[in-house]
Symmetry: C2
Subunit: 446 residues, 2 copies
């Protein structure tokens, strides 16, 4: 069970930069109404709260088929359709492609160089392609899918459809139509599940099964967190407390950077997944904190200097790991060297934990607010807990901010310019706008 320790957010510990019980009381007053929305799933997009209850039979069946018939699993998706699966992969199967079959590739871009390299190392005849897009109209995913479909037909002819699994809307959209027309296997992304809240849907669960992880464990952890967050008492609800404290630091103290630093290489992509969830949900109406993806101890040698002595514009959240599931004792070697002999006899896990705690304390001593999520170990159960925790926290924070945490209107403009340049019908004016801008801006160059 994960716990949240927030002592280093409080003015009693870190001084005037901290918050206090009076401020937390102001949250307490606002919580019941928001809680009623979330727990009552009063918006369609809150359907993610129901994902822990889903039936995993179909995901397990398809996962088993992929494992039985494929040397490679190539996932096409972008944003939430890729970040969640990647977080599962990196957390639960480190160095996967050097140790396991099927190998996993996540193509979440339209970089031709990346695609060339992926296609140079896979045998398409033994590859399953999982196309993930709720609507099927995401340009990046569609482009990759069209190329892969063509390449697959060249490779295996009429059996091509059998090598695809489409994860998409159960009833409508381009990808649903293509999949049905060609007889591809499919998995559903239900109506109320938005991309960044979809990791515990078949979007993330199929990948889990493909790498040999029991997807029910992810859901079991998520259900446990949902149950802990079924109270409107913010003092007992870790997700609300996490979101609420960040809200206070943002609104009352103008802190606009929100760093997440797990002390585990395997959770680096959990950070990146969180950054999408947080940024796209809460960055609107001129509001929003920039979420920062970090990893310890590594970033102590990269970002820590800035956090310690830079401007007071950040809140840092540590993820502390209880058991790493592997360990080494630092041996008694080079004992003549004074500078390193103190390490001998300690376990490597002691060192990483000591560094984590040292970083918390150093920041606190300088008055920099920080908090710590402690997870007992890195496994499917606790990863499920973390996913659900951050999703509930993000939805709660958005509602507290008075914004809609489920839409992303700010990305439309860019899509329209792209449509214009790619010649989509009805977007000629956009293309002309790009061409004009190109001319107007040629002069400022160094």
């Amino acid at each position: 069970m994960l716990t949240l320790n927030f002592a280093n957010m409080m003015e009693e510990v870190i001084g005037p930069n901290g918050t206090n019980d009076k401020a937390i009381e102001t949250l307490r007053a606002k919580t019941p109404e928001i809680h009623a929305d979330i727990i009552g799933r009063k918006r369609n997009e809150l359907e993610f709260m129901g994902l822990p209850d889903q039936d995993t039979a179909e995901v397990k069946k398809l996962g088993g088929e992929v494992r039985g018939e494929s040397d490679a699993f190539l996932l096409l998706g972008i944003g939430g359709s890729a970040l969640g699966p990647r977080a599962v992969l990196e957390a639960l199967s480190p160095l996967h492609n050097l140790r396991e079959v099927p190998k996993v590739f996540i193509y979440d871009n339209v970089d031709p160089r990346t695609l060339r390299h992926i296609l140079s190392v896979v045998d398409l005849g033994k590859t399953t392609v999982n196309v993930i897009s709720k609507s099927g109209s995401t340009a990046e995913t569609a482009a990759g899918f069209m190329i892969l479909w063509d390449e697959m037909k060249k490779a295996v002819g009429k059996d091509a459809a059998r090598r695809f699994i489409a994860t998409t809307d159960p009833a409508s959209g381009n990808l649903r139509k293509i999949a049905d027309d060609h007889g591809m296997r499919t998995l559903p992304i239900e109506k109320g599940i938005g991309g960044r809240y979809s990791v515990l849907s078949p979007v993330g669960l199929l990948l889990a099964e493909v790498i040999g992880v029991d997807s029910r464990e992810l859901l079991r952890g998520a259900a446990e967190m949902r149950s802990r967050c079924s109270t409107d008492d913010i003092g007992k609800n870790p997700a609300y407390m996490f979101g609420g404290l960040l809200y206070l630091m943002n609104v009352n103290a103008n802190r606009n950077v929100n760093v997440l630093i797990p002390y585990a290489d395997g959770l680096k992509f959990l950070s990146e997944w969180f950054c999408q969830l947080w940024a796209e949900s809460l960055g609107k109406d001129g509001k929003g904190m920039t979420p920062y993806p970090s990893v310890g101890t590594t970033d102590q040698h990269s970002q820590m200097q800035l956090w310690m002595e830079g401007p007071g514009d950040k809140v840092v959240t540590f993820i502390r790991v209880g058991e790493y599931g592997a360990d080494y004792t630092i041996p008694r070697v080079f004992e003549e060297i004074e500078g390193t002999s103190y390490l001998s006899g300690h376990r490597l896990s002691e060192l990483i934990k000591a560094e984590e705690e040292s970083s918390e304390l150093s920041l606190a001593k300088r008055g920099h607010p920080n908090m710590t999520i402690e997870v007992p170990s890195i496994d499917a159960y606790h990863l499920g807990e973390l996913f659900q925790f951050f999703e509930i926290a993000t939805a709660f924070t958005g509602l507290l901010m008075g914004i809609n945490p489920f839409n992303q209107p700010g990305v439309e403009e860019g899509k329209n310019f792209t449509y214009g340049m790619m010649g989509k019908k009805g977007f000629d004016a956009k293309r002309e706008e790009v061409e004009k801008a190109r001319k107007d801006r040629a002069g400022r160059q160094a």
Copy 2:
């Protein structure tokens, strides 16, 4: 040759959030003095400006030896000792470990789980370990080195030393002493080269040679950039202009987040390398912008919403790539589907470039300052150019801010707490401080 286009930083283009020629004139007045420092290498730490002139014979010799005798190359280092080499690896040899020998592993943490997995896939008898630490006293690198030394001795007995290359200070420090005592091969990190300015020293060059890249090409690109930056006319000096514009946006407009978004998967780790360079150099005295590592198109589906509609606290720098060195034509498939058929017939590189330009323009239309670095292609020459560009820009910006861009005093406190917890002599009081804090902070939990 890379170029910097900064039209979208100007008020004439983006309106009142932009800067103007008058503000640039204020920089022009300050530039000659700073330029004299940099070009005259008036601080020891400016020695990185001399790296393009170094002799690469020894690096080439050792790189050839590694390629001849190893299936795996394991780099131990953290911060600048790892981020630079990783940027070289990811940019110049994508999917390296699935395509090439020797495989490359970069262990830049003390996560025992990561080390367990690396050691499970390498044959130590055919592995070269490159330990990188200028002083040799970096705790993380020392711990990994001690474990690897012990494991290597178990694996190959008295030949262990032959499987290590130490990249360290040429004359002093723990690692120098150990390497000399045991007869390990070594490469120098010269006195004036700080970790985060070391990628073009043997720190990054050995890895380049190991993966089959001519390290002289990196230096040739760097030399070209140095030569372009040998003018104190900021209008003609791309690195000064880049740093100067960020400085203006930070000081005059309170923008405290500095996003770098290359449109190429291979440059994702260039972003991470840059973030360390920028954060650790400039985050001090209560000043500093948070550098944000991003990659396009991927982060259009993650961060763009926040950049478009969130607070006006950012400057976004795009890296636009001319030629990707690979391409695909999006085929005419699924033509009955209206939502995607517009893509057919276009090349994938057209799509990624259209998206990059669309993102610039969308931000500019909303009044969000952004600029674009254009690189002709992703190869050693242009990567060298980029490294040198960012290093000069960072040094220049620090001197403009009136801070020392070469130290990192803020990380000492955390090191001392860790020493205390690990039982290093003389740090008992620090251990007690940690233990006291642990007790005092137990109550705030959810």
